[in-house]
Amino acid sequence: MRNRFSKGLSQTRVKNRRGISNVVTSGILLSAISIIGVMMLGWSNSSILEQKQEIETVFNTNINKINEELIFENVWFATTPSPNHLNVTLANTGVLGLNVTEIHVTNTTGTNNTTFINYLTDGGIQKANSFSVNATYAWQSGDELDILVLTDRGNQFITQVIAP
């Protein structure tokens, strides 16, 4: 009987131990999966968010660049105050504000290809507004000049004029 009882007891213990290990194992597994799942979810969300931000940045940058539009409203030549210079009026005909950073004046008369670069720090033009600037260049009558305007977004606009 004792042996039978002992046997029965030991069998019960074994059964109970097996149940505990299953629970522990399951618990560990579930915890691990949960942790991994949460981590993956968190990673994927942050990754998607990053991608979203990147797409938005690229999208906005390119669209804004495409939408940027500038015309040379007028270019006239002045002699006073000395030295000779050009008055360049630019109009923003696009749908966004823009920032003019550089104006290059290149003399293309004959073999003369000198370029003078005017750097601007106050070249912001709001939508539907215009902006005038004196571009320094010692022009002479009959000079053929290319005027190249660079904006902050990397667009370039060019026109040609002949000095009177």
Partner: protein
């Protein structure tokens, strides 16, 4: 374990749901982003389209009594326009530039007056550059009273050049806006011509009136303004006054000069009164039109030509309108009443291939001109405007339909100046041009030119012209013009060693559904130059030294497609749009000036400008009054073959009220050539009896008249004399032999000659035979024996029959018709037949 499994399923499901939601939100975000992008693109495209559709026009610029700037700006487009800025730059003053804010919106079709927007005092003696800017960035530049940017095409013509002492002459100053920058000229004013009398200080020049008009409010590119002055010159024969005209604020040295000379006018002998005569010519040879004849006999001036209702009676002659500016006169002698209606001058002429400045440019080794002015079957026939062009098989054929090309691609008025053009679908439409001596390029200079209108739907490479070689490689020898995938115009030529010269435009989208002109030049230094829209500065150049090598072509050049091999065009490189006036010069490179002249040449509805005048004159050609006058009337380009055939007629039409030309008056039709740099010379064909219909002889088709103009008459004294008359009533009548005569008075002596009547409408008259009854309105032919000092019926000519015969000379003729009428009264009719030349 079951419950654990369930739990893991729930956890797994939660994660799955979370992942799916994340994925869906990402997809949704992506779609949303793409949607935004599309919306932005559509919005941008819409904005660019609106910018393209925006059109406004400065219709006039004036200054009011207070010298304030005024003018009208009209929205001629279909969308509203907002004007933002007006710039005013005074000519010749560098530092005075005014900017005015307009801020004025204009609905489609509406206008604004500048005086309501701007307060600016304008000096009428000065010139201004002005510029109007819109909110969409459209800039409209124009010059006000300041044609001083470039020399304009000025021409001064005195009309007539030779006048009797103290008579009037008209000075016509024509001004053509040939500025290369496409600007409007506003408020164009001439200065009264400067007058000098170099050969006699006593010569007196008096201005009667002018300039008329005092100014032109605006002059568009290519348009011509004409100002008129009237002057009298008093002095001795051969004295003259020289006039030099210019424009107010004009370009320095831009003037035009002509002179008026005092001289004797050569007069014809006076005619006498006549009635209801049809002249000495059978009625069967007459027409309702006034035919322009090549003869000048009996015309009031030796340089003038006859115009009457006889059919063309000669082999014809060709008149250069530029050098002759011909005048045509009817004969006097019959009063003619012309009903109100259209006077239609149908003129058969040929236009020069080029303006004078390019006249000989194709003479070197020939070339090709394809105006596309004829569709259908004419494409092989009439489009052979080649110069010295012979292929291996004889006369080369050009512009033959290939692929999907057919007559349905032809648009009669679709060209850049209302001329014919062909459309190309970009799928399979193209022309082949037979390879010949005149288009083989080789080591020669070469020029290719034409007009294109590239469709905005096109893409990739669209070839306009491609001449190439089949060597199985894509880099074979070639000479071509195309629109490339970046919407640039590209002119290039390449040799088989892969040496290519390439000239490509940049910065402008040429696939814009608008006409553009291109000229590609292989220059004397074997560089390539590409000119666009008449600009004298090349849009692109390439000076690669390899250009000197020989370009060897062995296949037929194509228009509208690219050759690959064996004359087969490439599937993807067909041109989509329209082409016109394709020209190729062999061994000739157009200069920059010639490029500009070619661009400004009108091969459409205004190739020539002619000043047409109808007037009444006395028998000596002295003006009695102008019936109508159209100054600088535009006439179409009329393509003629190189072999000199006249192919077309074009009309000058006037709508005129009832007009009466008196019996002692002539009708004068005058064509004055208005010259300008890009004008094409006009060669008029007249009096050509081989021309019957399409084209017909040059003539004036008048509304119904109550009588026929007195014809110019010639009589051969070896033949019987036929006179045609019409019975006007009021009674029917018979004509008898007794007393019916033709009388010829010698205009150079006191001698006169008479002729006996022989027959009336075929009935021989005798003592016992009168004519058949002549009813009211009947026309009858009277045949007379030959006129003699002692009239008789001697026949045939020769021997004693010629005794006292009327000699050759100019005579004034009358007919005396004796008979009786159906009222039982004797009647005698005297009909003046006008002047007649006896040969």
């Amino acid at each position: 374990m079951k419950s654990h499994r369930a739990l893991s399923s729930i956890v797994g499901t939660v994660f799955l749901v979370a992942i799916v939601i994340s994925a869906l939100s990402y997809v949704s975000y992506s779609l949303d982003t793409m949607g935004n992008y599309s919306e932005l693109l559509i919005s941008e495209e819409s904005r660019l389209n609106e910018k393209k559709q925006e059109v406004f026009e400065v219709q006039s610029i004036t200054n009011n009594s207070a010298s304030k700037l005024d003018g009208v700006i009209k929205n001629t487009g279909e969308i509203p326009v907002k004007l933002t800025t007006l710039w005013i730059d005074e000519q010749g003053v560098n530092d005075v530039v005014q900017k005015f804010t307009l801020d004025s919106a204009i609905s489609p079709g509406n206008s604004v007056n500048l005086i309501n927007l701007v307060d600016y005092t304008i000096d009428p003696a000065k010139g201004y550059n002005m510029k109007v800017v819109s909110s969409r960035g459209e800039v409209n530049s124009f010059y006000v009273n300041s044609p001083n940017q470039q020399p304009l095409d000025l021409r001064l013509d005195s009309l007539p050049k030779t006048i009797p002492d103290e008579f009037e002459s008209t000075l016509l100053l024509s001004v053509r806006n040939n500025m290369t920058n496409d600007n409007l000229l506003m408020n164009l004013k001439p200065v009264d011509p400067l007058t000098i009398v170099p050969n006699d200080v006593n010569t007196i020049v008096t201005k009667v009136d002018g300039p008329i008009p005092a100014s032109y409010p605006s002059l568009k590119p290519g348009e011509t303004a004409v100002f008129k002055w009237t002057y009298t010159v008093k002095g001795d024969t051969d004295d003259y006054a020289e006039f030099t005209a210019q424009l107010e604020n004009g370009f320095a040295g831009n003037t035009a000069t002509d002179r008026i000379t005092i001289g004797e006018i050569k007069l014809a002998t006076d005619a006498v009164t006549s009635f209801s005569s049809q002249g000495f010519n059978p009625l069967s040879s007459s027409t309702q039109d006034l035919i322009l004849h090549q003869e000048n006999l009996l015309a009031p001036l030796s340089s003038a030509y006859q115009m009457d209702q006889k059919l063309a009676d000669a082999a014809g002659t060709s008149l250069s309108i530029k050098t002759t500016s011909p005048d045509f006169y009817t004969n006097n002698g019959t009063a003619v009443e012309i009903s109100p209606g259209k006077w239609n001058a149908t003129l058969t002429y040929m236009s020069a291939a080029f303006p004078d400045s390019l006249a000989t440019s194709m003479d070197a080794k020939g070339g090709i001109i394809l105006h596309f002015d004829d569709g259908g079957a004419g494409i092989d026939g009439n489009e052979d405007n080649s110069f010295n062009c012979v292929s291996d098989t004889g006369k080369a054929k050009f512009a033959q339909y290939q692929g999907g090309m057919s007559v349905s691609n032809w648009n009669q008025f679709g060209g850049p100046q209302g001329s014919g053009s062909y459309s190309f679908d970009g799928v399979d439409d193209f022309f082949s041009v037979e390879r010949a001596k005149c288009n083989e390029v080789k080591k020669d200079l070469a020029t290719i030119a034409g007009w294109f209108k590239a469709s905005s739907s096109g893409s990739g490479n669209d070839y306009i012209y491609y001449a190439g070689k089949d060597n199985g490689a894509t880099a074979a020898d070639r000479f071509s013009v195309k629109i490339d995938s970046s919407n640039n115009v590209v002119f290039e030529f390449e040799t088989d060693d892969d040496t290519a010269l390439l000239c490509a435009s940049s910065g402008t989208n040429y696939r814009d559904n608008s006409w553009h002109h291109f000229v590609g030049v292989r220059d004397a230094d074997y560089s390539c130059k590409l000119y666009l829209d008449g600009n004298t500065t090349p849009a692109a150049t390439d000076t690669n030294s390899g250009g000197v090598k020989e370009i060897k072509l062995d296949k037929h050049p194509l228009i509208g497609a690219r050759l690959t091999q064996k004359d087969i065009p490439s599937g993807g490189d067909f041109f989509q749009g329209s082409l016109d006036d394709i020209m190729y010069w062999q061994n000739y490179a157009l200069s920059a000036t010639e490029v500009s002249d070619l661009y400004n040449t009108n091969y459409g509805n205004a190739a020539h400008t002619i000043t047409f005048t109808y007037s009444r004159t006395d028998p000596d050609g002295v003006n009695l009054g102008t019936i109508t006058n159209d100054i600088a009337y535009p006439m179409n380009f009329s393509d003629g073959k190189r072999d000199g055939k006249f192919l077309k007629s074009f009309n000058y039409t006037s709508l005129l009220p009832l007009t009466t030309i008196g019996a002692q008056e002539r009708l004068k039709f005058e064509m004055l050539y208005v010259d300008f740099v890009e004008a094409l010379q006009m060669t008029l064909r007249i009096d050509d009896n081989s021309l019957t219909t399409n084209p017909q002889n040059s003539a004036i088709d008048l509304p119904p008249t109550n009588a026929t103009f007195q014809p110019f008459q010639i009589y051969d004294n070896n033949s019987e004399l036929t006179a045609s008359v019409v019975s006007n009533g009021p009674f029917g009548s018979w004509i008898t032999k007794g007393g019916t005569r033709a009388i010829f008075n010698d205009t150079a002596s006191d001698l006169s000659y008479g002729a006996l009547i022989k027959s009336v409408n075929g009935t021989i008259l005798t003592e016992n035979q009168d004519s058949t009854f002549v009813a009211i309105g009947d026309g009858v032919d009277l045949i007379f024996h030959r006129p003699k000092l002692a009239p008789d019926n001697c026949w045939p000519p020769g021997g004693s029959c010629d005794t006292g015969l009327i000699p050759p000379g100019l005579y004034n003729a009358q007919i005396l018709i004796v008979g009786y009428n159906d009222e039982g009264n004797e009647n005698t009719w005297k009909i003046s037949m006008g002047n007649i030349q006896v040969n």
